[in-house]
Every structure is written in structure tokens, then in C-alpha cells.
Symmetry: C2
Amino acid sequence: MNSYKHPYKDVDFVIRHLLNFDAFCEQNKIADMNSDFTAVILAEAAKFATHQLDPLNQKGDLEHPILKDGKVIETPQFAAAYQEYVAQGWASLSASEEYGGQGLANLLSVACNEIWQSANMAFSLCPLLGQGAITAIERHGSEYLKEQYLAKLISGEWTGTMNLTEAAAGTDLAAIKTQAVYDDGQYKISGQKIFITWGDHQMAENIVHLVLARLPDAPAGMKGISLFVVPKYLANEQGEYNIENDVRCLSLEHKLGIHGSPTCVMSYGDNDGAIGYLVGEEHCGIRYMFSMMNHARQGVGVQGLGVSERAYQAALDYACERIQGSDKAGNALKIVQFGDVRRMLMAMKSGAEAMRALCYYAGLEADREQASNSSDEKAQFAAQTAFLTPVVKGWSTELTQEMVSFAMQVHGGAGYIEETGVAQYVRDARILTIYEGTTGIQALDFTQRKTLLDNAAQAQVMMEKIAQTCALNELDENVKKALNSALADAKQGVEYLLENPSQASFVANYYLQMWGYTIAGWLMAKAHLAATKELQIGAGDNDYLTTKQVSCEFYCEHFLVRTQACLASIRAGGDSVMSLTEEQFFSHVN
Amino acid sequence: MNSYKHPYKDVDFVIRHLLNFDAFCEQNKIADMNSDFTAVILAEAAKFATHQLDPLNQKGDLEHPILKDGKVIETPQFAAAYQEYVAQGWASLSASEEYGGQGLANLLSVACNEIWQSANMAFSLCPLLGQGAITAIERHGSEYLKEQYLAKLISGEWTGTMNLTEAAAGTDLAAIKTQAVYDDGQYKISGQKIFITWGDHQMAENIVHLVLARLPDAPAGMKGISLFVVPKYLANEQGEYNIENDVRCLSLEHKLGIHGSPTCVMSYGDNDGAIGYLVGEEHCGIRYMFSMMNHARQGVGVQGLGVSERAYQAALDYACERIQGSDKAGNALKIVQFGDVRRMLMAMKSGAEAMRALCYYAGLEADREQASNSSDEKAQFAAQTAFLTPVVKGWSTELTQEMVSFAMQVHGGAGYIEETGVAQYVRDARILTIYEGTTGIQALDFTQRKTLLDNAAQAQVMMEKIAQTCALNELDENVKKALNSALADAKQGVEYLLENPSQASFVANYYLQMWGYTIAGWLMAKAHLAATKELQIGAGDNDYLTTKQVSCEFYCEHFLVRTQACLASIRAGGDSVMSLTEEQFFSHVN
């Protein structure tokens, strides 16, 4: 079985040298926070993940949660690990100090999230989605809700869920049928939700469901949906949460992967109606839901990074052990010495590093927004974060599919055998381009809301940043050439989109992927610069810094070049995509 | 659950109009064989597959074969389906008439294979690999072996297996340790083989294992390996095959997919030594093995086509049923109407069609070789077949990964649930780039043996064929432009390789994929021409022919454009791929 090691040198390099986190802390007078501090915290997180979460990763895959007497029983030992996770304070890292959080930088929380997801993605989905519940209540909840729920959710004593999807309402939330009625001073919720991650379990004292539902007088469509807090246990008169609410798990899904994470069909109000508490105002649920969703989307991008890094490590270990053939002198060869195996390892290495650069960069944008005192600046940071969110989710998770597939390919036949462990990464990772909005939804969001709606203003900001890097004399010539070429492609892609907004849905995915490769390429170019500078100073780890340069060069040669094909497909527009009738699609079989 | 429909119109178009099979039959005076005849046979094959194999596809996934009292018990109902397959004569289609085969064209056998693999890949692996045993005995076996084994293998009463891999000898067969000793007029085999597909089962009366082993006096390495026939049951004095040979299945692998196909660890000679019969001459086993392997490699390419077509059909059905959202007039929308879903459906459609064109084209090359009376011509057809084999295997199976992933993506969250059935295609398909030589091995074969060794002579032949098509006035301008551009990339790729043979292993995969896109693009361009011509004649199915044109155009816009990035990565060579030391690879975690 593979074991996870924290890639602490690359993490530290990204935080310290690529993102200049120390300069950010200093400029914003954030006391006690700097790269040295994050390194200490991350080392502790890595210790916990390696010793407590990693050993349960394959266990969760094999010993699924089960539904017994109406209760979901999670994989053995998950509860103990969760309680330790809470006891060590990992749940509350970046949450607001007002409700017991530690108020640390979002960047640190992203870096920790990478560790949790690498070590055990199925387990770590639970706190990841709980974050969404915290965000929704913190931003939009009443004082009562904050007081009753926030501290317990932040500490992790209670977990949170997001209840959006119904059988006929997936991508289209306007079709939601779950009902809420106001009766005798209370909201009562009834309906069924599907695909509810960690919808029930015994790891925590209470589960706080955030549920989208429709009031009787609600307008049709998206503007008639409200958000409710529906706890598994309600408070008695003494304020003890021990009264069962009318909520239960009907069944568990049998999934391709993330077996350790129970995916529940949840039923609300089978008896008298589940008691719920309105979040914010009636009919504004979709807006609040996006508060949860955007955080979760970036988190899913980080899951891609986490599983990619882990899969890379497994492949690298195998390639350095597995002997096949010998050289002319008769010495046994490890497969790491073969050109095509090496190509796949380098692709995984540089792919994971590019995702890390992107995810952490986007993570720090949220800290910049938070730290800024100027409302204009705040708005600009928020807009860049919004611009980056679909890229973090849609690009990282698509690239992840290639990374985990490479990991299996390096293992050859052994990889196809479940015991080896790498097949689990392939199965687990496959959900990432689907949940929290498919890649198609990310791409639509990116083209429509994040490009066309602001007339490409944020795209322009990003292009200018990239152009500035391209203009630096000290940038390696080959890297510069590759980045310039990708930037030119991105520019033409933006122009095409602005001139042909009616083609947006057909070209959206290419447009998103092209930007993903380009922004990550920009960050890899900056990393190349930073590594070169550190090598010149001569105080760093030469081996690591040299690999960083090579990794950036590999990225330019093997990933960044893909923008050309994206642009070519964008320019083809939607003619061949859309010209067939539904009947014509079946003309080869009918 | 999804059901399979034979894409008979596209199959017929490829055979009749793209490949001009009737002209081939006429030129070569092949009596009674033409496109009308193949259509009749294929309709029968489709009927059998739809009614007998397809219903067992998910069953095989869920009810794995089990090992009980030393015997492998296959999935219930597989045996009855197999016996019906044999009774209907499907096993013997293109085998030599001398030993009871039907002597039909290889192209027909490829087209049938597509049907079997679409309907039930795990089941159809059994006869597919049996073909390898037939080929090896037919080409290299003694008269005794032919007489004793060939008729039963050809009829399908007995099945065949290929025993190559051992725990320490996968890609590197030189490391094989299984021993053969000649003792008292008999060869006795002992050793363990792993990953033996359908190594044991109860569907047939006997199983004929083709086993690579080493004689005591054998030279070291690849030149010291011999090939043996080792039957599960030996003949008694009356010639009845009912004496158990010293062969047994030790265990079954727990795999990611193709669950219905038992993958066995086989042990030979645990007691007295398994009795084996030498195929051909001693120490020449690797050469004979390639006779089996090349057939199997093209067959695996066709498996990719089969599962891609099936996955496409499942996605198309779902997209035409699933409602999400509504248009401005309030009419419910099916997801097939969404641009990004449509893009994925078109990609699956045109991807499967491109694979079909390539697999069938390569299949007919073997018929051309067979039919030719000139030895020069025969050699040239054989050389083109050899050139095409790694492309059929390595390109089709890699593209298949994308196709099945699209099928899941179209299904969204429902696709991740096993009951839907599409997850099985993803799991099944993942073996295709691994077994019968990984993509890396195909790519090495293609660059080294199929390009560098003949100084790109066969590549040149292919480029001339493509150039001829590009020169045709009647070719659609956009298609011509795209094909010309890909051809120019391929040319430059060949030049790079000839000038930089030392970089072959680093660029091999890109070189292979670039050629795959280009050759398939050429065939799609020819298909566009043929469809246009048929539309002009006006006697065909206009709906089908129009979709064919669109599908070819989509291929040019979305797949053929990928050659650019392949060429860019080829030109980067191996510097960034190979420059890290093994220690440096670990420098981010150590």
C-alpha cells in the first residue's frame, strides 16, 4: 500500500517564494503570520494526516459505510480520527475568531486542505463541505443561528451538509420541489434530496443540514428558493440538542469511488415535517447557496491537487522499485529510467505543481480581499477570486483525470489490480469533474458570468499580469516564448468570445481549459524566475530548486502548448457541434 | 441499464463506401464475398450479441467468476452464451478452411469483433485471445499440433490462452523464469504465470494454454525462450482428452474492471510437471509469440472502438431523456440541447467513427496481404499492417479513455453511481492501454521498429496516400486545410525522429498519437468525400450521410488540431524529461 508524504518543500516554495506570503503579511500588518509559521503548522498537519488519515484511506474504500436501522454507520476508525481532527483544532483553522475560530489565513487553510485530501479524500470531504455550511451561516444567518450553530460547526463538534440536488433538479436548481411551510411560528420542511455527502454518520453529536426548499407563495424558478438550517437533533427546553428532527437517510449510493464517504438519499418531513430555520431572507436561497458553493468549488480543485500529488508519489515509488530489463552492460534497469515512464512521472510532477501554484494563488486572493481596507481594492480582489474559481475547479479537476490515469499507466498491469491502491485514486478522482458543478457548468460560468458579463475586464487584468511577467528580462528565453505564445492564444480566445457571444456554450470548455493552462503556465514561469533567483542567492536547497526549474520547463513544453489546439477548436465555433437534429444522432443505428 | 444497438449504417458505409470492399473482392476474385454479404452476416452477429451477450454484460461485472475447489466458476449464464456462440459458428469465421474454419475475410472478423466487444467485453476477451493461440499453432505448429488442436480451437469447442507474464517479467519477457525440461520424450513445464485471461473456466471442454518457458540449455534473454502448447486436459490412449494435466489456477485477481473475465495466476507443474508440446523450434518462442500478439493488439484496438461506441450510445440515450431547465418560452429542455453536452456527444460520435475507420482499414490490409499473388505486394501489405498495428492499439485505446470519460460526464452525478452502468465502461476500458503491451510499448515499437528501422519507408508510403487525398479538388476546403496541416506536422515529426533517433523513447508517445490523429483524419477526410459523393448520387440515406459529413468536420476541428501540440512536444525532445536524477525526484518530500 502507498503511503503519503507531505511535499513540504514545494509547498514552502510556493508560499514563500512564488506568492511572497511574508511580504503580504508585512504589508497588511498581520501579526504572527509568516512563511515560517505556516511551515510549522503544516508540518503538524502532515503529521496528523500521515499517522491518522492516510492509514484509513484504503480502509474506507473497502469497508463502506452501511445503513443500519435507519442510521449510517461510517467506516470503522473514521470516528476516532474525526474526533482527533477536532481535538487538535484542524476544523477551525481559518474560521472567524468571533465564534471560536483561529482566524488564520485562508492560504494556510488551502495548504492544509491539500494535505487532508491527499491523505484521505473520502474522509476529508466531510469537513470540506461543512465549511460551506459555516460560510453560509456566517455571512447570511441571523444572530440566533450564529449563536446556536456557528461555534459547534467551527469547532467541528457538529458537521454540516449541503442539500441541493433532487432527482429531477441537478444542474437546474430551479426545478427544486422540496417544500417549506411556515406553520405555528416554525418552518417545516418536506421532500427528498439526493447525493448528500456525509448526510448521516455517527462521528459527531449533531449534523447541520443546509437545505434548499420552496415556500408555498414563492415565485417560480431560481428566485423562489429559500435556504434553511435543518439540524439532525433539535434543542430541548434546556438547550440540549437531543430531540430527533424529522430527517432520515433513506439509502446509500453505490458509487465508483470515494467509498468511505456516505452519499445519502435524505428524506425530510416523512412524519410531521422537519423543523428548519430560515437563513437570511425568504426566496434568496440561491444567492446564499453560492456563498457555500464557491468555497466548495475551490476546495474541489484542491482535492484534485491532493489526489494528483498522492497518485504521483505512488507512481514514483513504484517506478523506482520495479525492475524491467537491463542495460547493455547487463545492469538491471528500474522503469524510472525508461523515457516514456519518465515522461509520465514528469507530467504528474509538473501537473501537480502547476495545480498547487494555481490553487494557492487563488487562495491568497481571498486573504488579500479580506485584508484590504479599500472597498475598491476589496471588490477587485473579489472579482479576481470569482474569475479564478471556475478555473481552479474546472481546469485542475480535468487535469487530475490525466494525472491519476498516468499513475495507473506507470504501474502497468499491477495498477489494474485493486490491491495495489492506485485504482482507488482513479475511481476517487472521477467524481471531481462532476460534483459542485460539472466542468461544463464551470465553463459556462467562466465564459458567461466571468468573461462576457464584465466585457472581459477580469480577463484583461489577468492578461496584463501575464504580460508583465513576459516582459521581464530575466525570464528564461524558452519559458518566455512559450508563455507569450499561450498569452497570444488566450487573447485571441477572448476576442473570439467577445465577438461571438452566441458561440459561448459550444466553445466554453476549450476557453476554460485554455485559460487554465495559461494562468498555471504564468505561475510556473514565475516559479522558474523565483527558483533561478534563489539558486543565484545560493542559500536554498539546490536539488529542489533545480527540479523546480526543470518542472517549469517541462510544463511549458508539454502542457502550455495545448492552448493552440484549444484556440483552434474555439475558432471552429458551434457549427459542427450543433448542426445535427436529435433524429440524425440516431441515424447510424435506426 | 443500457442496451447495445449495432451501428450498422456506419459499419456498412465504412465497408462499402470508405474501403470499397466490393472492388477489393472483385479485383481479387473472392467468390460470394461483398458488402451485401457482410451486411447479412453482421446483422446476424448483432442479433446474437444483442440478445445473448449484452444482457450478461452488467451481470459479469456484478457476479464475478470465483475460484472453488481449484476450479474457476465463471459468471452464471456465460457458459450457455459461449456454447451458443460456438454453435452458431461465430468462433470460426475467418479461420482457415483446412481446419474447419469458414475462411471469410479478416475485415468481417474485425467488424464482428466490434460487435462482441461492444456487447460484452469481458466475455469476448475469451475468444479474442483464443485467436492468438490459433494463429500461433497455424503458423508455427507441427502437423501433430495442428491436427490435435486446431480444429477444436477454431470451432471454439476448446478455448486458448496466452501465458507470457510472470511476476518479475511483464514488459521485459527476457526475464521469464518458467522452466521446460525434456524428459523421457516429453517436455515438462513448471513455473507460475500471472495475468492469464480466462486461464480457467468451465465453458469449454478443454483449455489450450500457449506458454512461454525456458529450456535448461537456453541462451540468456529473449533468444532463449520457447513456446509450448500445454492443454488443461491431455489425451488418453483412445485419444480422448480427459486426463488432467499438472496445471491449476492458484488465484483470481481483484481488478478495477472486466470483472466477468477471470484473470488467473496459473501454476504449471506443481506435482510432476505439466506436459507441454513444443511449438516450432526451441528458443524461437518470442518470434511466435509476436504472431499471437500482433493479432491481439489489433483486437484490443477494436475493443476500444467497441466500448467507445457502447458508451456513446448510453450517453446519447441519457442526454435525450434527461430534462434540465427550460428555454425562454418555458419548454423543458433535454440536456442534448446544451452546447457542452452536445460537444461531448459529437466527440464520442466522431471519435468512435474515426476508430472504426482506422480499425477496419487496418483489418482490410491483412486481407489484401492474404489475397495478393505477388510476393513484393504481399510484403508491402504486411509492412503497412505492421506499421498500423501499434497505431490501432496505442491510439484507439488512449482515445477510448476520453470517450468513456465523456460518457460518464454526460451522465453527471448519475454516472458516478454504479447502477447506471456507465461506470463499468470506464472501469472496463482502463485495461486497454495496458494489456497486450502498454501504450509506451506500442509507441516504442512504432518509433523504433516501424519508423527508424526502415528509415521511415512505411511512414512515407502513408504520407503519400494522405497527400494524394489532400490533392483532390473535390475535397471540402476546410477538411483539406486541416488534413494538410496535420500532414505537415507528421512530416516534421518524422524528420525530427530521423534526425534525432536518440530522442525516440522520450517523444515516442507524442509521435504515435500524432500519427493516430493524422491517419484517422485522413480516413475521415476520405469518408467526407465518399459521403458527399453518395449524397450527390442521391440513392443513400440522406440523414445518415449528412451526419457523416458533420462528424468528419467535427473530427477535423476538435481532434485533428491536436497534432500541433504533439509536434511541439516532440520538438522539445528529452531534455526536461530526463534531466532529473532519481534523488532529485524525491527532493520535494525529503
